[in-house]
Amino acid sequence: MPENTTYIETENDYKQNSTVVVEMVHLKKSFGNNHVLRDITLVITKGENLAILGQSGTGKSVLIKCIVGLVEIDEGKLFILGKDISELKNKELIEIQKKIGFLFQSGALYDSMTVRENLEFPLRKQLRSIPKEKLDSLIKEALNNVGLYAAIDKSPSELSGGMRKRLGLARTLILKPEIMLYDEPTTGLDPITSKEISHLILEVQRKYNTTSIIITHDIECTRLTANRIIVIKDGVCAAEGTYNDLKKSADPWIRSFFE
Protein backbone atom coordinates (compact mmCIF):
# COMPACT_ATOMS: atom_id res chain seq x y z
CA MET A 1 0.00 0.00 0.00
CA PRO A 2 1.48 3.46 -0.90
CA GLU A 3 2.54 5.31 2.20
CA ASN A 4 0.37 8.38 1.60
CA THR A 5 -2.77 6.50 0.70
CA THR A 6 -5.65 7.44 2.94
CA TYR A 7 -9.32 6.55 3.05
CA ILE A 8 -10.23 9.33 5.41
CA GLU A 9 -13.28 11.22 4.31
CA THR A 10 -14.75 14.35 5.77
CA GLU A 11 -17.03 14.28 8.79
CA ASN A 12 -19.87 15.65 6.68
CA ASP A 13 -19.76 12.61 4.39
CA TYR A 14 -20.69 10.43 7.35
CA LYS A 15 -23.39 12.69 8.66
CA GLN A 16 -25.23 12.49 5.33
CA ASN A 17 -27.31 9.33 4.93
CA SER A 18 -25.57 7.81 7.94
CA THR A 19 -26.93 4.97 10.05
CA VAL A 20 -26.35 5.14 13.77
CA VAL A 21 -24.50 2.02 14.89
CA VAL A 22 -23.64 2.87 18.49
CA GLU A 23 -25.34 5.50 20.61
CA MET A 24 -24.53 6.34 24.21
CA VAL A 25 -26.77 8.61 26.21
CA HIS A 26 -25.51 9.97 29.55
CA LEU A 27 -23.52 6.82 30.16
CA LYS A 28 -22.05 6.43 33.64
CA LYS A 29 -19.76 3.82 35.15
CA SER A 30 -18.05 3.74 38.53
CA PHE A 31 -15.83 1.25 40.32
CA GLY A 32 -16.49 1.90 43.99
CA ASN A 33 -15.71 5.55 44.58
CA ASN A 34 -13.82 5.83 41.33
CA HIS A 35 -16.25 7.47 38.87
CA VAL A 36 -14.61 6.48 35.60
CA LEU A 37 -17.30 7.51 33.14
CA ARG A 38 -19.27 10.46 34.48
CA ASP A 39 -21.47 11.42 31.55
CA ILE A 40 -20.74 10.18 28.07
CA THR A 41 -23.10 10.99 25.23
CA LEU A 42 -21.91 9.85 21.84
CA VAL A 43 -23.21 8.76 18.44
CA ILE A 44 -21.18 6.60 16.07
CA THR A 45 -22.37 6.08 12.52
CA LYS A 46 -21.88 3.22 10.07
CA GLY A 47 -18.50 3.06 8.36
CA GLU A 48 -16.99 5.61 10.69
CA ASN A 49 -13.52 5.30 12.23
CA LEU A 50 -13.72 7.02 15.60
CA ALA A 51 -10.56 7.49 17.64
CA ILE A 52 -10.80 8.07 21.37
CA LEU A 53 -7.95 9.94 23.02
CA GLY A 54 -7.33 10.71 26.64
CA GLN A 55 -4.84 10.29 29.43
CA SER A 56 -4.27 6.87 30.94
CA GLY A 57 -6.95 5.89 33.45
CA THR A 58 -9.64 8.15 32.01
CA GLY A 59 -11.93 5.25 31.13
CA LYS A 60 -11.31 4.82 27.40
CA SER A 61 -10.96 1.05 27.65
CA VAL A 62 -13.91 0.87 30.04
CA LEU A 63 -16.00 2.68 27.44
CA ILE A 64 -15.39 0.07 24.73
CA LYS A 65 -15.71 -2.76 27.25
CA CYS A 66 -19.21 -1.40 28.00
CA ILE A 67 -20.03 -1.65 24.28
CA VAL A 68 -18.90 -5.25 24.00
CA GLY A 69 -20.59 -6.27 27.26
CA LEU A 70 -17.48 -7.01 29.33
CA VAL A 71 -18.40 -4.20 31.72
CA GLU A 72 -21.96 -3.37 32.77
CA ILE A 73 -23.01 0.27 32.71
CA ASP A 74 -24.37 1.86 35.90
CA GLU A 75 -26.59 4.54 34.41
CA GLY A 76 -27.61 5.90 31.04
CA LYS A 77 -28.58 4.20 27.80
CA LEU A 78 -26.50 2.27 25.33
CA PHE A 79 -27.95 1.47 21.91
CA ILE A 80 -26.10 -0.92 19.61
CA LEU A 81 -27.40 -1.37 16.07
CA GLY A 82 -30.55 0.40 17.18
CA LYS A 83 -31.26 -1.81 20.18
CA ASP A 84 -31.19 -0.74 23.81
CA ILE A 85 -28.92 -3.38 25.34
CA SER A 86 -30.40 -2.97 28.83
CA GLU A 87 -33.75 -4.23 27.51
CA LEU A 88 -32.41 -7.22 25.60
CA LYS A 89 -32.77 -10.80 26.74
CA ASN A 90 -29.61 -12.87 27.07
CA LYS A 91 -30.04 -14.57 23.69
CA GLU A 92 -30.65 -11.26 21.88
CA LEU A 93 -27.67 -9.74 23.64
CA ILE A 94 -25.45 -12.60 22.44
CA GLU A 95 -26.67 -12.01 18.87
CA ILE A 96 -25.68 -8.35 19.14
CA GLN A 97 -22.32 -9.22 20.69
CA LYS A 98 -21.60 -11.55 17.76
CA LYS A 99 -21.59 -8.48 15.54
CA ILE A 100 -18.87 -6.79 17.58
CA GLY A 101 -15.18 -7.59 17.24
CA PHE A 102 -12.63 -6.64 19.89
CA LEU A 103 -8.89 -6.36 19.40
CA PHE A 104 -7.32 -6.51 22.84
CA GLN A 105 -4.31 -4.43 23.80
CA SER A 106 -2.29 -7.57 24.51
CA GLY A 107 -3.75 -9.49 21.57
CA ALA A 108 -5.24 -11.95 24.12
CA LEU A 109 -4.08 -14.92 22.05
CA TYR A 110 -4.67 -18.42 23.37
CA ASP A 111 -1.14 -19.44 24.33
CA SER A 112 -1.84 -23.17 24.34
CA MET A 113 -3.02 -23.12 20.70
CA THR A 114 -1.25 -22.62 17.36
CA VAL A 115 -2.05 -19.74 15.01
CA ARG A 116 -4.46 -21.99 13.09
CA GLU A 117 -6.17 -23.18 16.28
CA ASN A 118 -6.51 -19.59 17.53
CA LEU A 119 -8.64 -18.86 14.46
CA GLU A 120 -10.38 -22.24 14.38
CA PHE A 121 -11.47 -22.11 18.00
CA PRO A 122 -13.98 -19.19 17.91
CA LEU A 123 -15.17 -20.26 14.47
CA ARG A 124 -15.94 -23.82 15.55
CA LYS A 125 -17.75 -22.58 18.63
CA GLN A 126 -19.96 -20.22 16.64
CA LEU A 127 -20.53 -22.43 13.60
CA ARG A 128 -20.58 -25.89 15.18
CA SER A 129 -21.23 -27.87 12.00
CA ILE A 130 -18.89 -26.00 9.66
CA PRO A 131 -17.30 -28.31 7.01
CA LYS A 132 -13.52 -28.65 7.14
CA GLU A 133 -12.98 -27.22 3.63
CA LYS A 134 -14.99 -24.12 4.49
CA LEU A 135 -13.13 -23.76 7.78
CA ASP A 136 -9.75 -24.02 6.04
CA SER A 137 -10.67 -21.47 3.41
CA LEU A 138 -11.90 -18.98 6.03
CA ILE A 139 -8.71 -19.41 8.04
CA LYS A 140 -6.59 -18.98 4.92
CA GLU A 141 -8.50 -15.84 3.91
CA ALA A 142 -8.23 -14.32 7.41
CA LEU A 143 -4.49 -15.01 7.64
CA ASN A 144 -3.83 -13.73 4.13
CA ASN A 145 -5.69 -10.53 5.00
CA VAL A 146 -3.18 -9.81 7.73
CA GLY A 147 -0.17 -11.33 5.96
CA LEU A 148 0.33 -14.17 8.41
CA TYR A 149 -0.39 -17.29 6.39
CA ALA A 150 3.24 -18.41 6.57
CA ALA A 151 3.00 -18.57 10.37
CA ILE A 152 -0.10 -20.81 10.41
CA ASP A 153 1.52 -23.63 12.40
CA LYS A 154 3.49 -21.46 14.79
CA SER A 155 2.53 -20.91 18.41
CA PRO A 156 1.83 -17.37 19.69
CA SER A 157 5.06 -17.38 21.72
CA GLU A 158 7.02 -17.58 18.45
CA LEU A 159 5.40 -14.41 17.06
CA SER A 160 6.62 -10.83 17.34
CA GLY A 161 4.50 -8.08 18.90
CA GLY A 162 3.23 -6.88 15.53
CA MET A 163 2.42 -10.41 14.37
CA ARG A 164 0.50 -11.06 17.60
CA LYS A 165 -1.58 -7.93 16.99
CA ARG A 166 -2.24 -9.02 13.40
CA LEU A 167 -3.23 -12.48 14.56
CA GLY A 168 -5.57 -10.95 17.14
CA LEU A 169 -7.09 -8.89 14.33
CA ALA A 170 -7.45 -11.94 12.07
CA ARG A 171 -9.15 -13.88 14.88
CA THR A 172 -11.63 -11.05 15.31
CA LEU A 173 -12.25 -10.56 11.58
CA ILE A 174 -12.90 -14.23 10.90
CA LEU A 175 -16.23 -13.80 12.70
CA LYS A 176 -17.16 -10.98 10.27
CA PRO A 177 -18.09 -8.29 12.81
CA GLU A 178 -19.97 -5.12 11.90
CA ILE A 179 -18.34 -3.08 14.64
CA MET A 180 -14.62 -3.27 15.42
CA LEU A 181 -13.25 -2.09 18.74
CA TYR A 182 -9.49 -1.58 18.95
CA ASP A 183 -7.90 -1.21 22.38
CA GLU A 184 -4.57 0.53 21.82
CA PRO A 185 -3.71 -1.41 18.65
CA THR A 186 -0.24 0.08 18.20
CA THR A 187 0.96 0.19 21.81
CA GLY A 188 4.39 -1.36 22.29
CA LEU A 189 5.15 -1.52 18.57
CA ASP A 190 7.91 0.20 16.63
CA PRO A 191 6.86 3.10 14.32
CA ILE A 192 7.03 0.99 11.14
CA THR A 193 4.90 -1.84 12.54
CA SER A 194 2.53 0.73 14.06
CA LYS A 195 2.04 2.23 10.62
CA GLU A 196 1.40 -1.24 9.18
CA ILE A 197 -1.26 -1.89 11.81
CA SER A 198 -2.84 1.52 11.14
CA HIS A 199 -3.04 0.73 7.41
CA LEU A 200 -4.48 -2.66 8.25
CA ILE A 201 -7.22 -0.98 10.29
CA LEU A 202 -8.07 1.19 7.28
CA GLU A 203 -7.99 -1.78 4.95
CA VAL A 204 -10.35 -3.73 7.22
CA GLN A 205 -12.74 -0.80 7.35
CA ARG A 206 -12.71 -0.50 3.55
CA LYS A 207 -12.96 -4.22 2.80
CA TYR A 208 -15.60 -5.20 5.36
CA ASN A 209 -17.31 -1.82 5.74
CA THR A 210 -16.96 -2.03 9.51
CA THR A 211 -17.48 0.74 11.99
CA SER A 212 -14.39 1.15 14.15
CA ILE A 213 -13.72 2.64 17.53
CA ILE A 214 -10.02 3.00 18.17
CA ILE A 215 -8.60 3.68 21.61
CA THR A 216 -5.10 4.98 21.16
CA HIS A 217 -2.30 7.18 22.44
CA ASP A 218 -0.59 7.01 19.07
CA ILE A 219 -1.20 10.29 17.24
CA GLU A 220 0.16 8.95 13.96
CA CYS A 221 -2.33 6.07 14.15
CA THR A 222 -5.08 8.58 14.92
CA ARG A 223 -4.07 10.75 11.96
CA LEU A 224 -4.04 7.80 9.58
CA THR A 225 -7.19 6.05 10.68
CA ALA A 226 -9.69 8.40 12.29
CA ASN A 227 -12.53 10.23 10.56
CA ARG A 228 -13.47 11.75 13.89
CA ILE A 229 -11.76 12.06 17.26
CA ILE A 230 -13.13 12.52 20.74
CA VAL A 231 -11.02 13.38 23.75
CA ILE A 232 -12.09 12.12 27.16
CA LYS A 233 -11.19 14.06 30.28
CA ASP A 234 -12.50 13.38 33.79
CA GLY A 235 -15.08 10.91 32.50
CA VAL A 236 -16.72 13.25 29.99
CA CYS A 237 -16.13 14.08 26.31
CA ALA A 238 -13.92 17.14 26.52
CA ALA A 239 -13.57 17.71 22.78
CA GLU A 240 -14.73 16.31 19.49
CA GLY A 241 -13.73 16.92 15.88
CA THR A 242 -11.47 15.87 13.06
CA TYR A 243 -7.71 15.59 13.39
CA ASN A 244 -7.16 19.03 11.92
CA ASP A 245 -9.87 20.64 14.07
CA LEU A 246 -8.43 19.34 17.31
CA LYS A 247 -4.86 20.04 16.33
CA LYS A 248 -5.82 23.72 16.10
CA SER A 249 -7.95 23.65 19.26
CA ALA A 250 -7.95 26.75 21.44
CA ASP A 251 -7.47 24.53 24.49
CA PRO A 252 -3.74 23.95 25.07
CA TRP A 253 -4.47 20.65 26.86
CA ILE A 254 -6.21 19.29 23.74
CA ARG A 255 -3.44 20.61 21.51
CA SER A 256 -0.83 18.91 23.68
CA PHE A 257 -2.02 15.51 22.39
CA PHE A 258 -1.01 16.49 18.87
CA GLU A 259 2.39 18.00 19.64
Binding site: V68, G69, L70, I94, Q97, K98, I100, G101, F102, F104, Q105, S106, A108, L109, Y110, D111, F121, P122, K125, Q126, R128, R171, L175
Partner: protein, 280 residues
Amino acid sequence: MEEVNLEQSQNQHHAEVIIPEVFSEPISESVFDKFFLEVSSITTFTLRFIKEVIKPPYEFNEVMKQSYLIGYKSFPLVAITGFIIGLVLTIQTRPTLAKFGAESWLPAMVAVSIIREIGPVITALIFAGKVGSGIGAELASMNVSEQIDAMQVSDINPFKYLVVTRVLSATLMLPLLVIFADAVGLLGSFVGVNIKGNVSTYLFFSQIFQTLEFNDLLPAFIKTIFFGFAIGLISSYKGYNSNKGTEGVGKAANTAVVFASLVVFIIDMVAVQITSLLQN
Protein backbone atom coordinates in the same frame (compact mmCIF):
# COMPACT_ATOMS: atom_id res chain seq x y z
CA MET B 1 -15.65 32.51 53.38
CA GLU B 2 -14.96 30.11 50.58
CA GLU B 3 -11.34 29.92 51.59
CA VAL B 4 -12.34 29.03 55.15
CA ASN B 5 -14.62 26.25 53.90
CA LEU B 6 -11.90 24.92 51.68
CA GLU B 7 -9.51 24.91 54.60
CA GLN B 8 -12.05 23.11 56.79
CA SER B 9 -12.65 20.58 54.09
CA GLN B 10 -8.90 20.01 53.70
CA ASN B 11 -8.55 19.56 57.45
CA GLN B 12 -11.41 17.07 57.50
CA HIS B 13 -9.83 15.21 54.61
CA HIS B 14 -6.49 15.27 56.39
CA ALA B 15 -8.12 13.99 59.58
CA GLU B 16 -9.73 11.13 57.66
CA VAL B 17 -6.39 10.15 56.20
CA ILE B 18 -4.46 10.06 59.46
CA ILE B 19 -7.00 7.91 61.38
CA PRO B 20 -5.54 4.41 61.24
CA GLU B 21 -7.92 1.94 59.64
CA VAL B 22 -7.57 -0.49 62.53
CA PHE B 23 -9.28 1.99 64.86
CA SER B 24 -12.09 2.85 62.50
CA GLU B 25 -13.12 -0.79 61.95
CA PRO B 26 -12.75 -3.75 64.33
CA ILE B 27 -10.35 -6.36 62.91
CA SER B 28 -12.65 -9.26 63.74
CA GLU B 29 -15.48 -7.67 61.75
CA SER B 30 -13.37 -7.30 58.63
CA VAL B 31 -12.06 -10.88 58.93
CA PHE B 32 -15.59 -12.21 59.34
CA ASP B 33 -16.79 -10.04 56.46
CA LYS B 34 -14.04 -11.42 54.23
CA PHE B 35 -14.75 -14.98 55.32
CA PHE B 36 -18.48 -14.80 54.64
CA LEU B 37 -17.95 -12.94 51.36
CA GLU B 38 -15.57 -15.69 50.26
CA VAL B 39 -18.01 -18.42 51.32
CA SER B 40 -20.85 -16.70 49.47
CA SER B 41 -18.68 -16.22 46.39
CA ILE B 42 -17.62 -19.91 46.34
CA THR B 43 -21.24 -20.97 46.81
CA THR B 44 -22.31 -18.85 43.84
CA PHE B 45 -19.42 -20.30 41.83
CA THR B 46 -20.50 -23.87 42.76
CA LEU B 47 -24.13 -23.18 41.83
CA ARG B 48 -22.99 -21.76 38.50
CA PHE B 49 -20.92 -24.90 37.94
CA ILE B 50 -23.98 -27.09 38.59
CA LYS B 51 -26.06 -25.00 36.19
CA GLU B 52 -23.42 -25.03 33.44
CA VAL B 53 -22.59 -28.71 33.76
CA ILE B 54 -26.22 -29.65 33.04
CA LYS B 55 -26.83 -27.15 30.25
CA PRO B 56 -25.77 -28.18 26.70
CA PRO B 57 -23.58 -27.89 24.65
CA TYR B 58 -21.13 -30.26 26.33
CA GLU B 59 -17.38 -29.94 25.91
CA PHE B 60 -16.52 -33.66 25.72
CA ASN B 61 -13.29 -33.14 23.78
CA GLU B 62 -11.98 -30.61 26.26
CA VAL B 63 -12.91 -32.88 29.21
CA MET B 64 -10.92 -35.69 27.54
CA LYS B 65 -7.97 -33.36 26.91
CA GLN B 66 -8.00 -32.09 30.50
CA SER B 67 -8.35 -35.65 31.84
CA TYR B 68 -5.22 -36.56 29.91
CA LEU B 69 -3.32 -33.53 31.23
CA ILE B 70 -4.64 -33.71 34.78
CA GLY B 71 -4.84 -37.47 35.20
CA TYR B 72 -2.54 -39.33 32.86
CA LYS B 73 0.32 -36.88 33.33
CA SER B 74 0.06 -37.29 37.12
CA PHE B 75 0.50 -41.08 37.07
CA PRO B 76 4.33 -41.10 37.41
CA LEU B 77 4.33 -38.73 40.41
CA VAL B 78 1.52 -40.64 42.11
CA ALA B 79 3.27 -43.95 41.42
CA ILE B 80 6.56 -42.79 42.98
CA THR B 81 4.93 -41.34 46.10
CA GLY B 82 2.58 -44.32 46.47
CA PHE B 83 5.46 -46.78 46.28
CA ILE B 84 7.57 -44.83 48.81
CA ILE B 85 4.65 -44.50 51.24
CA GLY B 86 3.89 -48.23 51.09
CA LEU B 87 7.55 -49.07 51.60
CA VAL B 88 8.20 -46.59 54.42
CA LEU B 89 4.98 -47.39 56.24
CA THR B 90 5.85 -51.08 56.24
CA ILE B 91 9.42 -50.53 57.44
CA GLN B 92 8.28 -48.12 60.18
CA THR B 93 5.42 -50.32 61.40
CA ARG B 94 7.35 -53.60 61.58
CA PRO B 95 9.25 -52.93 64.89
CA THR B 96 6.04 -51.97 66.75
CA LEU B 97 4.16 -55.03 65.53
CA ALA B 98 7.21 -57.22 66.29
CA LYS B 99 7.09 -56.06 69.94
CA PHE B 100 3.59 -57.55 70.24
CA GLY B 101 4.48 -60.64 68.19
CA ALA B 102 2.04 -59.51 65.52
CA GLU B 103 4.49 -59.21 62.63
CA SER B 104 2.34 -61.52 60.52
CA TRP B 105 -0.35 -58.84 60.57
CA LEU B 106 1.94 -56.39 58.79
CA PRO B 107 0.53 -56.76 55.24
CA ALA B 108 -3.07 -56.50 56.42
CA MET B 109 -2.43 -53.51 58.67
CA VAL B 110 -0.50 -51.58 56.05
CA ALA B 111 -3.13 -52.40 53.39
CA VAL B 112 -6.00 -51.12 55.53
CA SER B 113 -4.04 -47.95 56.37
CA ILE B 114 -3.18 -47.29 52.76
CA ILE B 115 -6.59 -48.03 51.28
CA ARG B 116 -8.75 -46.37 53.94
CA GLU B 117 -6.74 -43.27 54.70
CA ILE B 118 -3.18 -42.73 53.59
CA GLY B 119 -3.62 -43.52 49.89
CA PRO B 120 -6.62 -41.19 49.31
CA VAL B 121 -5.34 -38.32 51.47
CA ILE B 122 -1.72 -38.33 50.32
CA THR B 123 -2.73 -38.68 46.66
CA ALA B 124 -5.26 -35.86 47.07
CA LEU B 125 -2.61 -33.61 48.64
CA ILE B 126 -0.17 -34.35 45.83
CA PHE B 127 -2.95 -33.78 43.34
CA ALA B 128 -3.78 -30.44 45.00
CA GLY B 129 -0.11 -29.45 44.81
CA LYS B 130 0.42 -30.45 41.20
CA VAL B 131 -2.95 -30.04 39.51
CA GLY B 132 -4.52 -27.44 41.84
CA SER B 133 -1.62 -25.03 41.49
CA GLY B 134 -1.54 -25.68 37.72
CA ILE B 135 -5.22 -24.90 37.25
CA GLY B 136 -5.01 -21.85 39.54
CA ALA B 137 -1.98 -20.41 37.74
CA GLU B 138 -3.25 -21.25 34.24
CA LEU B 139 -6.66 -19.65 34.70
CA ALA B 140 -5.17 -16.66 36.51
CA SER B 141 -2.67 -16.04 33.71
CA MET B 142 -5.49 -16.38 31.16
CA ASN B 143 -7.36 -13.80 33.19
CA VAL B 144 -4.36 -11.45 33.29
CA SER B 145 -3.68 -11.77 29.56
CA GLU B 146 -7.39 -11.11 28.79
CA GLN B 147 -7.83 -14.56 27.20
CA ILE B 148 -10.97 -15.13 29.27
CA ASP B 149 -12.37 -11.79 28.08
CA ALA B 150 -11.43 -12.73 24.51
CA MET B 151 -13.48 -15.94 24.80
CA GLN B 152 -16.43 -14.00 26.12
CA VAL B 153 -16.40 -11.52 23.24
CA SER B 154 -16.10 -14.41 20.75
CA ASP B 155 -19.36 -15.84 22.13
CA ILE B 156 -17.56 -18.71 23.88
CA ASN B 157 -18.70 -19.45 27.41
CA PRO B 158 -15.35 -19.33 29.30
CA PHE B 159 -16.87 -20.78 32.45
CA LYS B 160 -18.13 -23.86 30.65
CA TYR B 161 -14.98 -24.27 28.55
CA LEU B 162 -12.40 -23.63 31.26
CA VAL B 163 -13.99 -24.28 34.65
CA VAL B 164 -16.55 -27.02 34.03
CA THR B 165 -14.10 -29.15 32.03
CA ARG B 166 -11.33 -28.88 34.62
CA VAL B 167 -13.59 -29.60 37.60
CA LEU B 168 -15.12 -32.62 35.85
CA SER B 169 -11.70 -33.95 34.87
CA ALA B 170 -10.37 -33.53 38.41
CA THR B 171 -13.46 -35.27 39.82
CA LEU B 172 -13.09 -38.18 37.40
CA MET B 173 -9.33 -38.59 37.50
CA LEU B 174 -8.52 -38.38 41.22
CA PRO B 175 -10.40 -41.62 42.12
CA LEU B 176 -8.50 -43.42 39.35
CA LEU B 177 -5.20 -42.01 40.57
CA VAL B 178 -6.01 -43.10 44.14
CA ILE B 179 -6.75 -46.66 42.99
CA PHE B 180 -3.45 -46.67 41.12
CA ALA B 181 -1.58 -45.16 44.11
CA ASP B 182 -3.11 -47.77 46.45
CA ALA B 183 -2.00 -50.59 44.14
CA VAL B 184 1.54 -49.22 43.84
CA GLY B 185 1.57 -48.55 47.60
CA LEU B 186 0.78 -52.23 48.26
CA LEU B 187 3.59 -53.17 45.90
CA GLY B 188 5.92 -50.92 47.94
CA SER B 189 4.67 -52.61 51.08
CA PHE B 190 5.43 -56.04 49.56
CA VAL B 191 9.01 -54.88 48.90
CA GLY B 192 9.19 -53.53 52.47
CA VAL B 193 7.99 -56.81 53.95
CA ASN B 194 10.58 -58.74 51.98
CA ILE B 195 13.50 -56.53 53.02
CA LYS B 196 13.63 -58.32 56.38
CA GLY B 197 11.59 -61.38 55.63
CA ASN B 198 10.56 -63.79 52.94
CA VAL B 199 6.88 -63.60 52.08
CA SER B 200 5.57 -64.87 48.76
CA THR B 201 3.45 -62.64 46.52
CA TYR B 202 0.52 -65.04 46.88
CA LEU B 203 0.67 -65.08 50.68
CA PHE B 204 1.10 -61.31 50.91
CA PHE B 205 -1.86 -60.44 48.69
CA SER B 206 -4.13 -63.25 49.91
CA GLN B 207 -3.68 -61.97 53.48
CA ILE B 208 -4.56 -58.47 52.31
CA PHE B 209 -7.69 -59.54 50.44
CA GLN B 210 -8.85 -61.71 53.36
CA THR B 211 -8.61 -58.72 55.68
CA LEU B 212 -10.10 -56.03 53.45
CA GLU B 213 -13.86 -55.59 53.50
CA PHE B 214 -16.29 -53.78 51.25
CA ASN B 215 -16.62 -51.17 54.03
CA ASP B 216 -12.94 -50.37 53.67
CA LEU B 217 -13.10 -49.82 49.94
CA LEU B 218 -16.37 -48.01 49.20
CA PRO B 219 -16.16 -45.05 51.63
CA ALA B 220 -12.52 -44.51 50.66
CA PHE B 221 -13.47 -44.46 46.97
CA ILE B 222 -16.46 -42.16 47.46
CA LYS B 223 -14.48 -39.60 49.42
CA THR B 224 -11.88 -39.36 46.64
CA ILE B 225 -14.66 -38.18 44.30
CA PHE B 226 -15.35 -35.32 46.70
CA PHE B 227 -11.62 -34.62 47.07
CA GLY B 228 -11.28 -34.35 43.28
CA PHE B 229 -14.34 -32.13 42.98
CA ALA B 230 -13.16 -29.83 45.78
CA ILE B 231 -9.62 -29.51 44.37
CA GLY B 232 -10.90 -28.82 40.84
CA LEU B 233 -13.50 -26.33 42.03
CA ILE B 234 -11.32 -24.40 44.48
CA SER B 235 -8.35 -24.10 42.15
CA SER B 236 -10.62 -23.03 39.27
CA TYR B 237 -12.35 -20.52 41.55
CA LYS B 238 -9.04 -19.03 42.68
CA GLY B 239 -7.68 -18.80 39.12
CA TYR B 240 -10.86 -17.57 37.46
CA ASN B 241 -11.41 -14.83 40.06
CA SER B 242 -7.78 -13.82 40.45
CA ASN B 243 -6.67 -10.21 40.59
CA LYS B 244 -5.23 -8.76 37.43
CA GLY B 245 -1.45 -8.58 37.32
CA THR B 246 1.38 -11.06 37.68
CA GLU B 247 1.08 -10.95 41.47
CA GLY B 248 -2.44 -12.29 41.08
CA VAL B 249 -1.14 -15.37 39.22
CA GLY B 250 1.24 -16.35 42.01
CA LYS B 251 -1.35 -15.65 44.66
CA ALA B 252 -3.99 -17.70 42.83
CA ALA B 253 -1.65 -20.71 42.50
CA ASN B 254 -0.61 -20.46 46.14
CA THR B 255 -4.06 -20.01 47.66
CA ALA B 256 -5.47 -22.73 45.41
CA VAL B 257 -3.05 -25.29 46.89
CA VAL B 258 -3.41 -24.11 50.50
CA PHE B 259 -7.19 -23.86 50.41
CA ALA B 260 -7.69 -27.12 48.47
CA SER B 261 -5.39 -29.03 50.86
CA LEU B 262 -7.27 -27.67 53.85
CA VAL B 263 -10.61 -28.66 52.32
CA VAL B 264 -9.26 -32.19 51.66
CA PHE B 265 -8.63 -32.59 55.40
CA ILE B 266 -12.05 -31.17 56.26
CA ILE B 267 -13.81 -33.52 53.82
CA ASP B 268 -11.75 -36.42 55.21
CA MET B 269 -12.80 -35.59 58.76
CA VAL B 270 -16.47 -35.38 57.76
CA ALA B 271 -16.21 -38.61 55.71
CA VAL B 272 -14.70 -40.50 58.67
CA GLN B 273 -17.53 -39.30 60.93
CA ILE B 274 -20.20 -40.28 58.42
CA THR B 275 -18.59 -43.69 57.78
CA SER B 276 -18.31 -44.51 61.48
CA LEU B 277 -21.90 -43.37 62.08
CA LEU B 278 -23.16 -45.59 59.25
CA GLN B 279 -21.09 -48.55 60.41
CA ASN B 280 -22.44 -48.22 63.95
